[in-house]
C-alpha cells in the first residue's frame, strides 16, 4: 500500500485522536485559549441575629494576555443595614441616646444591649491588579484599590515580587502595600471623651444644639497604613505544600470609631452618662501564619494557624481548616471550620467608673475585647459544561465576647454585658 507522506500519518492521527478522546477537555482548553477572560460573579448575604444585615454583590474579571500577563479586576458593592452595639452597657432602666448626627434620639429597653440602629450604608470597592511573569523564576505584581462609603474613602497601592527556587519547589514572595483612608464621620468627629449631649437635659432645642456642637470637631480625619509581608511556600511532596508568612503592619492616624461610646457608671452600676471613645493614633502589628495543604485521592485538605500581636496588646490565634471532597469529577462538597480567640486591647473597658480619673485611651467596642469566635461552613461546587462552575456556601458564625477581668459593679452583675453575636452567611457564585 502506498501512502502519501507516511511519516505524517502518526502526527495526523495524534491530532485526530486527541480531538476525539479528549473531547470535553479539548473543547474547554480551546475555549480558554480563544477567550482568555474569566469572570466570577457572586452574591452574598450576611446577617447577624437582630443586628447588621449585609447584601454583597461581587464581580471579578480576569484577563490573561499571553502566558506572561494577567489582569485581575474586582468590584464589590455592598449594602449594610441594621444595628450595631454602641458600646454602652445594658441597664435595668430604659436608656436614651442621641443619634450620631445629633438629629433625633433612640431608646434601649431595660436589659437590652444598646444598639445604634441608624446604621445603613452602601459601599463600593474596586481593585485592579496586574501580574507579570518576568522570567521562569521571577514574577511581579502591582495593584491599586479604592473603596467608598458614605463617611469613608480609602485608596491603596500594592506591589509584590516573587522568586522561585529549587525547580519551583520553593517560592519566596515579598510584598508591600500603602493605604490612605479619609474618614468624615456623620455629624462631625466627636471630641475624645466628651459627654453625649441628650435633648432631655436641655430646655430648648437651641441649648441642646449648642451643647451637641461642643462635642464635635469639624473636618475630616485620615489614616495611613503600611503593610509588608514575606512569604515562603515549600512543596513537601507530590501531595503536600507548606506556607509560612510574616506580616508587619504599621498604622497611623485616626483609628477611633466615631460612633462608639462608653457608659460611665456609679458604684451601683447605674449609667451617669456616655462618653465618646478614644483610641491611640498609632498601631504596629505583627502576624505569623502557617498553612499546609494536601491533595488526597478524592479531595483536598488544608490546615492553618495564625498568630497576630500588636502594641495595643491585642493578641489573637486563629485555627482554620477546609476539607473538600470530590463526589465526582464535577461535584464537590467542602467543610470549613474556624476557631478564633483574641485577648483584649490594653485600653478596652466594658464601661468607665464615674468617680475614677479618665484613662488616656478607652473603648468599649467588644470587637477589641476578649473574645472567641467560631465558624462552621459548608460549600458545594458543581462544574457545568463549558468550564462553568456554580458554588453555594452556607456558614454559621458566632462571636462570644468575654469579660476581660473587669469587676462588675451593682446592677451590671444582673446584665448580660457580653452577649454572643450569631450570624449566617450565604453565598452563591458563578464562574464562567
Amino acid at each position: 500500500m502506498q501512502l502519501k507522506n507516511p511519516s505524517n500519518i502518526a502526527k495526523a492521527l495524534a491530532l485526530a485522536s486527541c480531538a476525539l478522546v479528549g473531547q470535553s477537555a479539548q473543547v474547554q482548553a480551546s475555549e480558554e485559549k480563544l477567550d482568555d477572560w474569566k469572570v466570577d460573579a457572586a452574591i452574598m448575604y450576611y446577617g447577624e441575629e437582630d443586628r447588621v444585615q449585609a447584601v454583597e454583590a461581587i464581580g471579578n474579571v480576569q484577563k490573561a494576555f499571553g502566558d506572561e500577563s494577567l489582569l485581575d479586576m474586582k468590584l464589590v458593592v455592598d449594602s449594610l443595614t441594621g444595628a450595631s452595639a454602641s458600646g454602652a452597657v445594658a441597664q435595668a432602666e430604659t436608656q436614651t441616646f442621641t443619634r450620631p448626627s445629633g438629629d433625633g434620639q433612640y431608646q434601649t429597653a431595660p436589659g437590652e444591649t444598646p444598639l445604634d440602629d441608624t446604621f445603613h450604608d452602601t459601599r463600593v470597592q474596586a481593585s485592579a491588579n496586574w501580574a507579570e511573569t518576568l522570567s521562569p523564576v521571577w514574577k511581579t505584581n502591582v495593584g491599586v484599590n479604592g473603596s467608598k462609603e458614605f463617611d469613608y474613602f480609602s485608596m491603596g497601592l500594592n506591589a509584590g515580587i516573587e522568586r522561585s527556587f529549587n525547580k519551583d519547589n520553593t517560592t519566596l514572595v515579598l510584598s508591600g502595600a500603602y493605604t490612605f483612608d479619609t474618614i468624615d464621620p456623620v455629624g462631625g468627629k466627636p471630641v475624645a471623651f466628651s459627654a453625649m449631649a441628650v435633648r432631655g437635659d436641655y430646655n430648648t432645642e437651641e441649648e441642646y444644639r449648642t451643647a451637641f456642637d461642643l462635642t464635635r470637631v469639624e473636618g475630616t480625619e485620615d489614616k495611613k497604613t503600611m503593610d509588608m509581608m514575606l512569604s515562603i511556600t515549600q512543596v513537601l511532596s507530590r501531595r503536600w505544600v507548606f506556607q509560612a508568612n510574616y506580616g508587619l503592619s504599621s498604622i497611623s492616624g485616626y483609628m477611633t470609631d466615631p460612633y462608639k461610646i462608653l457608659s460611665q457608671v456609679d458604684d451601683t452600676g447605674t449609667s451617669q452618662g456616655y462618653l465618646y471613645e478614644n483610641r491611640p493614633d498609632s498601631r504596629l502589628k505583627h502576624s505569623f501564619y502557617m498553612m499546609t495543604k494536601g491533595a488526597l485521592d478524592a479531595g483536598v485538605v488544608d490546615f492553618s494557624y495564625r498568630y497576630s500581636t500588636d502594641d495595643w496588646d491585642l493578641n489573637s490565634h486563629t485555627l482554620e481548616t477546609h476539607y473538600r471532597y470530590y463526589f465526582s469529577g464535577r461535584f464537590y462538597g467542602q467543610v470549613h471550620l474556624r476557631y478564633y480567640q483574641q485577648q483584649a486591647a490594653n485600653f478596652y473597658r466594658p464601661f468607665l467608673m464615674a468617680d475614677e480619673p479618665l484613662p488616656e485611651y478607652a473603648s468599649a467596642d467588644y470587637r477589641i475585647g476578649d473574645m472567641s469566635s467560631y465558624t462552621l461552613g459548608l460549600k458545594f461546587g458543581q462544574r457545568l459544561s463549558g468550564g462553568h462552575e456554580m458554588s453555594y456556601r452556607l456558614e454559621y458564625y458566632q462571636q462570644n465576647p468575654e469579660n476581660n477581668g473587669t469587676e462588675l459593679v451593682g446592677q451590671l452583675q444582673d446584665q448580660d454585658l457580653f452577649p454572643a453575636v450569631k450570624a449566617i452567611m450565604a453565598q452563591v457564585s458563578y464562574s464562567f
Partner: protein, 304 residues
C-alpha cells in the same frame, strides 16, 4: 436498555493485590480489566462502576449487533438522513480522517464485505458476492455534519474498528479526570491505556503481548508508565485456504483480506485510538507493516 445498563454496571469482580486492586468484567465481546494502584476499596469500586458504565454505554450505542440502538437506526434509515449527536459526529469525523489517511483502506462502511468473511475457519465467499458487496462499500458516499448523517440505502456503518479503543480512551479519560492522582491500567481485550503516570518510585505496569503461535501465553513483556497500546492481528480469527492464511483485515478496495500481513501488530502511542489505528494501518500495509511503523517513529512489536 436501562436494565442492561444497570446489570452491566454492577457486574464486575474486584480483587485485592499487594499494590492495589484488579477489577474485571466483560464488554464488547472481550475480557476487560482495570489494574488500579489504590488500596481503598470504596474508591476502586467507584472507578469500576464508572468503567463498566462507560464501556456498556459505548457498546450499547455503537455495537452493530444491538437491535434498535442508535447505530441500528442509522443503518436502517434506508437512504434517509438520520439525526446524530456530537459524540457520533466526532467518531465519524475521526473515521473520515482515517479513511483519507489510509487512502480508502480503512473504511467503516465495509460492513457488507466483513459480513461475507465469516472467520470461522471454513467458508470462503463467492467472488460474485464479494463484487456485490463491494458496490455497497464507499465511505466517500457518507455525508454528515454535526447534526445529521446520510448515505445510500443498502450501505451500513460498523464502528467495530474504533469503538473498543475509543471505549478504552474514554474510560481512561474519565478516570483520570475524576481521580487524577491514581494510576490505572485500562485493558479491554488487549487494547490498553494508562492515563495517569505511575509514581516515579513505583514499578511500571507490565503488559504481556501474546505470541500468536501460542495463544494466552505472553511472548513479550512491555513496560508502560503512561500512554496506550493496541494490537491488531489475525491471531484468533482467520480462514486458511490452500495453505494461505487470511486474516480478518479486509482491504475494502479489493474485497479480500490483506495478504502477507503480520500475524499481529502492537503499537504504543499516547492514546488507544491512535495506537489502534496505527496497528490497523500497519496490517493494511501487509508485507510493509514494519517499514510503515518505523517511519511513524512509534514503538511497536510485530509477530509474523
Amino acid at each position: 436498555m436501562s436494565i442492561q445498563h444497570q446489570r452491566a454496571s454492577s457486574n464486575f469482580q474486584l480483587s485485592r493485590r499487594s499494590w492495589g486492586h484488579v477489577g474485571s468484567f466483560r464488554a464488547m465481546a472481550s475480557p476487560c480489566e482495570l489494574l488500579i494502584a489504590n488500596e481503598d476499596e470504596n474508591i476502586t469500586r467507584a472507578m469500576m462502576e464508572l468503567a463498566t458504565c462507560e464501556a456498556a454505554r459505548i457498546e450499547q450505542k455503537f455495537s452493530r449487533f444491538i437491535k434498535d440502538n442508535p447505530l441500528w437506526k442509522i443503518n436502517h434509515a434506508a437512504g434517509k438522513a438520520s439525526p446524530i449527536d456530537a459524540e457520533t459526529a466526532s467518531l465519524l469525523q475521526f473515521a473520515r480522517q482515517c479513511y483519507q489517511l489510509s487512502e480508502g483502506r480503512f473504511d467503516i462502511s465495509a460492513g457488507p464485505l466483513m459480513a461475507l468473511w465469516r472467520f470461522d475457519g471454513s467458508q470462503f465467499p463467492k467472488a460474485s458476492d464479494i463484487e456485490r458487496a463491494r458496490a455497497l462499500v464507499d465511505f466517500s458516499k457518507v455525508s454528515f455534519n454535526e447534526h445529521q448523517l446520510q448515505f445510500p440505502a443498502g450501505m451500513s456503518l460498523d464502528f467495530g474498528g474504533i469503538a473498543k479503543e475509543y471505549a478504552v480512551d474514554r474510560v481512561a479519560y474519565l478516570l483520570a479526570e475524576q481521580w487524577p492522582a491514581i494510576s490505572v491500567l485500562v485493558n479491554f481485550g488487549g487494547d490498553i491505556a494508562c492515563p495517569v503516570s505511575k509514581a516515579a518510585d513505583a514499578p511500571p505496569w507490565q503488559v504481556g503481548i501474546e505470541n500468536p503461535q501460542r495463544l494466552d501465553s505472553a511472548a513479550a513483556l512491555l513496560e508502560i508508565r503512561q500512554g496506550a497500546l493496541a494490537t491488531s492481528g489475525d491471531t484468533r480469527r482467520f480462514i486458511e485456504k490452500n495453505g494461505q492464511r487470511f486474516g480478518h483485515i479486509i482491504d475494502p478496495r479489493t474485497g479480500y483480506p490483506i495478504v502477507k500481513a503480520p500475524r499481529s501488530v502492537t503499537v504504543l502511542a499516547p492514546n488507544c485510538v491512535m495506537a489502534g489505528m496505527l496497528a490497523t494501518m500497519a496490517m493494511l500495509e501487509g508485507a510493509q507493516a514494519e517499514a510503515f511503523l518505523s517511519e511513524q517513529e512509534v514503538e511497536f512489536k510485530c509477530f509474523r
